[in-house]
């Protein structure tokens, strides 16, 4: 079973979000997503300062057999890409909710309220539906 921490928000496309103390959001891919992709061999993260729209592809995660875009869950500006991942993509496999975060984003005004995010329980339902 995949690990779905209760304190995070999720998207249907398997990203998670954590609100940091300064109001920015930390974003990564879920345990389910990293498991489905397999051993990651390359991760490309966005540069700080880039403005993104909800649904825009802004990071790439690659395994040997698959490649997937990671989408911005809401409008905002990237404040950081995780620098560690260029050399150690396997961090995403090992700690998808921790050191394996992909990017940090400052939401545009009102974007957080407008975004359709899932609770842990709702995301678990998405996984259950996919599994069935």
């Amino acid at each position: 079973m995949s690990n779905v921490p209760a304190d995070l928000k999720y998207t249907k496309s398997h990203e998670w979000l954590r609100t940091l103390a300064d109001g920015t959001l930390e974003i990564g891919i879920t345990d389910h997503a990293q498991h489905a992709l397999g051993d990651l061999v390359f991760v490309e993260v966005p540069e700080a300062g880039r403005a993104v729209k909800a649904g825009e592809a802004c990071a790439v995660v690659e395994s040997v057999k698959a490649a997937s875009d990671v989408y911005a869950p809401l409008d905002g500006q990237i404040t950081a890409g995780n620098p560690r991942l260029s050399g150690e993509p396997e961090t995403v496999n090992a700690e998808p909710y921790g050191e394996g975060w992909l990017m940090r984003l400052r939401p545009a005004p009102g974007a957080l309220a407008a975004a359709q995010l899932l609770s842990a329980a709702e995301y678990q339902q998405v996984l259950d539906a996919e599994g069935g």
Partner: protein, 457 residues
């Protein structure tokens, strides 16, 4: 039946196993009205003896000529060992090395090829090859747009000293994706791009500058100045080079202060016969930082479960079978068999042999130019150094002269009238190491007679 081993008894047994009475029953899912009865437009079969005779007659009717044509395809000595080994069935009739454990020969060979091409071009990584030099140039332009993230314009500057066919292929293959190719005029006295002429693009968004060295006229461009200009203006440099010339000329990785960013070229001079234009192979090398933007197959060395070295296709997530619509290119294959020939060729030539070949080509071309410019009505079109080929100017139209020479069994070069009308009666000639002083004498004498006859007519 040609290449079908089935006996009548085999067919009967197979149909019985399937539960069908006739082979035709196996096509019962195809709507009857679509079925074709005969292929009347295809001739009856020939046996191998008959086709052998037909092909030999046709080949003989084409004959062989004394060839001073270059323009992107060059006649070189090819060691017998190259094709004797390349046409071994284990290379010839294998497919793309998807099952790495059963394809280590092809995979290791490609790894060796990648190493040789990276070293020859002075770059860090190479792919397993592209279709030909022209399509590799088009792919390099597309790659530059992906790699140069500082540029938004998808605008490629292309000197008109780049092979005219390469320029057309680049437009045909890349314009649909919104790339624009802007032509840079050359200096008609010198036959090169003056670096100062780029000043009019100062301050504009340019994605990449293409530089062919030696250029289509055989002339040597000021690659250092052109490269430095491009980098100072946040443009990438795509080098288009002749691999033989790299034994003598500065490797693209050393052009200017930082070196070219992508190098491509036609691999044909490395052991591949002229063969009416193909199959050849294009090569592509680049900096490590751009490896994920590179199209085509790439082989890497890794370990097997027993900890031994082995080779496998890698970085496949760039490719169409995984990325589909977001792939770096739709290319699947490389030109594996030609890469095999080129890798064997480079091994047999080594650094000394390749340099010797390049020097001999250059020496023969100089000898040719000296001989032909002694003919009245013939002069060099451009001042300055060249490699391998050069443009001559005749005092009258080139086409009839070439026809006269061809009747004497001499292919005298390429008439540039259709490509560069501003050059007047211009003729592109080439001599490689395969030409002797006697060959050059024969050309000089025939050219003299042809011009004289044309003058008298």
């Amino acid at each position: 039946m040609a290449f079908i081993p089935h006996t009548d008894a085999d067919v009967a047994a197979m149909l019985a196993a399937i539960g069908a009475s006739r082979i035709d029953d196996l096509f019962d899912e195809i709507p009857a009205e679509l079925r074709v009865r005969t292929l009347a437009g295809v001739p009856e079969a020939l046996n191998e003896m008959e086709i052998g005779r037909l092909m030999s007659e046709r080949a003989r009717s084409d004959g062989t000529s004394l060839c001073f044509l270059g323009a992107g395809a060059y006649e070189h000595h090819i060691p017998a060992a190259v094709w004797a080994v390349t046409t071994r069935g284990e290379f010839y009739s294998a497919y793309t090395p998807y099952q790495a454990e059963a394809s280590q020969g092809t995979l290791q060979l490609i790894y060796e090829f990648q190493t040789m091409m990276a070293r020859l071009t002075g770059m860090q990584v190479a792919n397993a090859s592209m279709y030909d030099g022209a399509s590799a140039t088009a792919e390099a332009a597309l790659m530059a747009v992906r790699a140069n993230r500082k540029s938004q314009s998808a605008r490629i500057l292309v000197p008109t000293t780049v092979h005219p066919h390469y320029r057309r292929v680049a437009v045909a293959m890349a314009a649909n994706q919104g790339l624009t190719f802007e032509e840079l005029p050359y200096c008609t006295e010198e036959g090169v791009i003056p670096a100062a002429s780029l000043a009019r693009y100062d301050g504009e968004d340019v994605t990449a500058l293409l530089i062919q060295q030696p250029n289509f006229f055989g002339r040597l461009e000021d690659v250092d100045a052109l490269t430095d200009w491009a980098h100072a203006h946040r443009a990438l440099v795509i080098a288009v080079v002749n691999p033989t010339s790299l034994a003598l000329l500065k490797a693209p990785g050393e052009w200017g202060a930082r070196g070219a960013d992508i190098t491509v070229g036609e691999g044909q001079p490395l052991g591949v016969p002229l063969s009416s234009g193909g199959p050849y192979f294009g090569f592509m090398t680049t900096r490590m930082e751009f490896v994920r933007q590179m199209p085509g197959r790439i082989v890497g060395r890794t370990l097997d479960t027993a900890g031994r070295d082995g080779f496998t296709l890698t970085l496949q997530a760039r490719e169409q079978h995984i990325r589909r619509a977001k792939a770096t290119s739709n290319i699947c294959t490389n030109q594996g068999l030609l890469v095999t020939a080129a890798t064997i060729y480079m091994s047999l030539m080594g650094p000394q042999g390749l340099e010797r070949t390049a020097v001999a080509c250059h020496a023969r071309t100089r000898e040719l130019l000296a001989a032909l410019t002694r003919v009245p009505g013939v002069r060099l079109a451009f001042a300055g150094p060249c490699f391998h080929e050069a443009v001559l100017q005749l005092d009258r139209p080139v086409a009839p002269v070439l026809r006269t020479l061809a009747r004497d069994g001499i292919l005298g070069g390429l008439d540039l009238a259709a490509y560069y009308p501003e050059l007047g009666h211009a003729l592109l000639v080439c001599a490689t190491e395969t030409k002797t002083s006697a060959d050059i004498d024969r050309y000089r004498a025939s050219l003299g007679e042809a011009l004289q006859a044309a003058r008298a007519a």
